[in-house]
Symmetry: C2
Subunit: 261 residues, 2 copies
Amino acid sequence: MKVVIIGAGGVASSLAPAVKEAGHEILQIYSHTVSSAKTLADSVGCGSTIDIKELRNDADIYLVSIKDAALAEVGKALTKGRENALWVHTAGSMSMNVFGDVRRGVLYPMQTFSRSKKVCFRAVPCFIEASTESDKEILTNFARSLSDSVTPLDEDARKYLHLAAVFCCNFTNHCCAIAEEILLEKGIPFSVMLPLLDETVAKLHTVPPREAQTGPAVRYDKNVLTRQQTLLEDAMAKDIYRLMSENIHRFSSTDNNNSQS
Amino acid sequence: MKVVIIGAGGVASSLAPAVKEAGHEILQIYSHTVSSAKTLADSVGCGSTIDIKELRNDADIYLVSIKDAALAEVGKALTKGRENALWVHTAGSMSMNVFGDVRRGVLYPMQTFSRSKKVCFRAVPCFIEASTESDKEILTNFARSLSDSVTPLDEDARKYLHLAAVFCCNFTNHCCAIAEEILLEKGIPFSVMLPLLDETVAKLHTVPPREAQTGPAVRYDKNVLTRQQTLLEDAMAKDIYRLMSENIHRFSSTDNNNSQS
């Protein structure tokens, strides 16, 4: 397949090498940032542009990995004069109809992509949708050339999947960022938390999250809950602590058999 | 060392086999629940009791792993007639002075312990404190017989460490529990999240949490943020979503270079 990649952020930067390794031909990287476009294009050996007028019109498939707001804004404009290609975005929460009435689909790679950490795309669960059966088949084959885990999923379910991913990934990471702030105050490096974090996630491979819950909130250890809130000087961190603890307590069943140090 | 373990919850259940494997003699398990006390005692081949009058008084060290509130209540009573032994609790947020004016200390194993998932105690970071230099040495040697990671830490720093652990472990687990609820509604198994969770934590081994942050909140993708809040029917989940997103946005630096699908 001849591919144009639109975007040069975390997702595009992980997608591009996977597309190349799968044997497809990347014609061009398009991004509104010169340096990002050029860096990514150089890494996969193709051309780049920041000018929509120079956007190639001979690709079989256009992969669009840009901010959702930008996608909503430029989705239709991008397809002009390129209506015969298959237009695919990678956004979990966006409809494929953002491209208008063209051949269209979604390839949602459910993973956290940062430029500073390479991800093995073959292990990334990809969820796909397309506007016609024939394009669904084309997109399935394309996705399978990149990843070992390809599942069809409609827009409604994908939205909830993305929402769940935000909780599992973005919010868990933010909990760690708050922990990092707390430790920084005492001169303790964040790395001290890694064995605990590893075990927290390892446990979830065999124990459901509700059952795996430990800590003062699920024990409803009021003394600790009050004292820990007092330690938090930042008002928002305090609110998060209170709200999370209340919700853990609400989730906890009466027959809970866990404890945490 | 001759050891009595007080408590039979998650921490005690991970501690007891580690104590036994290190070659110490466990004299007794004491817990207020008959079945828990007996199950744990049987697993390490010692006696058990639920009656404080039957609590052995010939141990060198008493390891107390009970709820913080219970510890505050019974700490001093437990030591009566056993003042020559070393009294050690495992609670991150409690002072060793909860035992009163006896030989006392803390061995805080910073890990999440559930009865349903065995933990390798040798890999658990343990933070210790004792009331005298000689007991600190005794406790250090004892802790080193159980774990490869033993660090002295005073009460104040330990409190903040425990608070950070609550964010890293208990709150990240709860984020996953909310995700589980969201997926349940759509008939999607939680296991679909495991590659994302694994990568989220793997990334934190090399990238600091703030820098590793991805997702709609750090991109400040208002459309997604609004739509995802609408998907959440539960009021508390909605509040958590809003608060976490606001705080992620607040944490994010202007030179952020991450994105998430």
